[in-house]
Amino acid sequence: MGLLRALYYRLSTASIACYSATLKGLLANFGIHFCKATLTDSYFSLYLIVSEDSMKIHEYQAKELLAQYGAPVPKGEVARTPEEASKIAEQIGGRVVIKGQIHGGGRGKAGGIRTAETPGQAEEIARSLLGIRLVTHQTGSEGLPVNAVLVEEAVEAERELYLSALIDTSENVPLMIASEAGGMEIEEVAAKSPERILKQHIDPATGLLPYQSRNLAYGMNLAPEYVRPATETMASVYKLFMEKDCSLVEINPLVTTNGRLLALDAKVNFDDNGLSRHPEVAQLRDTSQEDPLEVEAAKLGVNYVKLDGNIGCMVNGAGLAMATMDLVKQMGGEPANFLDAGGGASEDQVTGALKILLSDPKVKAAWVNIFGGILRCDLVARAIIRAVKEKGLKVPFIVRMNGTNLEEGIQLLKESGLDIVFESNLTEAAKKAVSSQQSVLG
């Protein structure tokens, strides 16, 4: 880390550029994304959407990190049993809030955040939350398991503000966003009243400058006693964002209460590509909040996203994988997954990826679509044979390959004697995958 810091500050000494450019375009970010409603130059309606991807951690972990960096968070502690919750409530004293810890928003409306007047009540609420699957508008119908609750002092908020740090991919620099309209979804604020969203682009060589923090703090119309705590919180947020390779640090709401400024709810997401240099961050991953097949795929180093359909697709390369799913849909089917084994996958990876695909009980037909470049067709054929032999073949299996060593690949599949359909034409292969699944269902 020290070395990286040194390298970082050795960067250009160019004078601080004035980033006057407005946010243009939908900026695919790691955590938050912006898009404009129209492509006119004169007017932008800005939407911020918090993405569901990149590594997430729980609220209590996010608050621990923020506290480590000096940002003010409410008194509280995480509990994994009702008894622990009672004990923490007693230590805090007075009213407490019990917050179910899941990787998903909308907990309040779903009954995942409740207030307790006494330690006994805190214990009761914790008992009712721990071990359940909480369903919110962000979790899907299966919900996510609550394995921990955060027990925290209850805070009467005077004002609810918003603060976040992320990368602006149109300017390729970090960006800090603040708004006096906190406590609601920020994309809503951006859509309805974009003028209430304040932005400061940050020079990566100098970091967040004190005047920029003041611009944001005074811009939020804070009472004088809150200005300094706010600018200090901004400095903490920026430092955390940079040092831990975050994709998003978001405090929403940041509240004022009796002279204190507090991060009442917080979200910290991480850039997956930065995790290798932060083993302490990688440890915070909670795989109970992720789909088991997706966890397995991640271990294997392949990209897998589970979908609602029943045609399993395995493809090499992300773009081709998406286009393959699209073709399934155009031919009247529904893809069961996105599965990109990688442009240069190994035989073990392809075999493993296929086994994941065949493990999904929803899959009623499997379609392998490979463009052999670096990845050779004969390697794919061997992987298919291995996977099918290990997992068994209960569904129709269609293979479409093209490119390097195609003939050897086809030959291997033929010789295997497995009931695999080979089809070289892309559209025909998609049709076969869709119709074979229909005949299975019929």
């Binding site: 390298l7 960067l11 250009s12 160019a14 243009k24 375009g25 939908l26 900026l27 695919a28 970010n29 790691f30 994304h33 912006f34 898009c35 409603a37 492509l39 939407y47 959407i49 993405s51 569901e52 991807d53 990149s54 990368i167 991919t169 390729n172 970090p174 994309e187 990566p204 060589a205 940079m242 390779d245 994709s247 850039d271 590509n273 930065g274 240099r277 996203v305 979908l307 390369g317 773009g319 081709l320 998406m322 286009a323 393959t324 799913m325 699209d326 073709l327 399934v328 155009q330 996105f338 990109d340 463009f371 470049g373 670096i374 093209n402 490119g403 034409n425 892309l426 559209t427 998609a430």
Partner: protein, 297 residues
Amino acid sequence: MILVNENTKLVVQGITGREATFHSKRCIEYGTTVVAGVTPGKGGIKWEEKVPVFNTLEQAVKETGANVSLIFVPAAFASDAIMEAADGGIEVIVCITEFIPALEEVKWHYHLRGKKTTVIGPNCPGIISPPGKCKVGIMPGYIHKPGNIGVISRSGTLTYEVVTQLTEQNLGQSTCVGLGGDPLPGSNFVDLLKLFQADADTNAVVLIGEIGGTYEQEAAQFINSEMTKPVIAFVAGSTAPPGRRMGHAGAIITGSASKVSEKIKTLSAAGVTVVENLGEIGLTAKKVLVGLGLVRA
């Protein structure tokens, strides 16, 4: 031809690595002139008994006159390699390296501000010019054919699929460029469309987009106002669920504008022929170009 051609003098950064060795050989087989390699600590040796290896890029440029660089160094060092190449006077940098942390990418973007260097990638297949017999990347060379179509894409294997279809229709390519799937790419569609519009060897452009970002919308705006050459487009990801990253770090639907339907709408409105069936890109391109009298039926 754009960016690379028969005069390209390529330096490969990280040439002694396994992947780099494999792909550098394929580049040479295709016809690329590889003049130097850079691997700190291995300066003085000859790679594969023919290409001189230098400790620094500065030395490599000084000794060999290299003007294009191909980067294979590991993610932790790739940002440094890009800045080293740019500061060393390299005009076109192709970075193949995947998994570079975003904050590392911020560094080189910042460092290269105002410089004329073109960066393609990171996390991309690279550039190939069939008429120039020059391949600076990892794409399979044999699927390409010399001709007059420019190809720009955000993905790898999908581009190979499309190029194969073009070649099958006897539609050769002037240059094919893979921009890469990262959210902070060095170049975007508009940068490349400008070059293709100005390139005498290019008659038409095939643009392959995907969900995420508004690169396609920006391309549409440019096409509408500046392009006279026909553009045929395909956009992948109409079935991708919102909020999930589809392999590429930048491929994620995060609002209405990043959806395929929006991108198709904007491109169509700009006069672009948008193909919706992946299997029909080659055929459609042929039809459009025959219709315009740019190729024979």
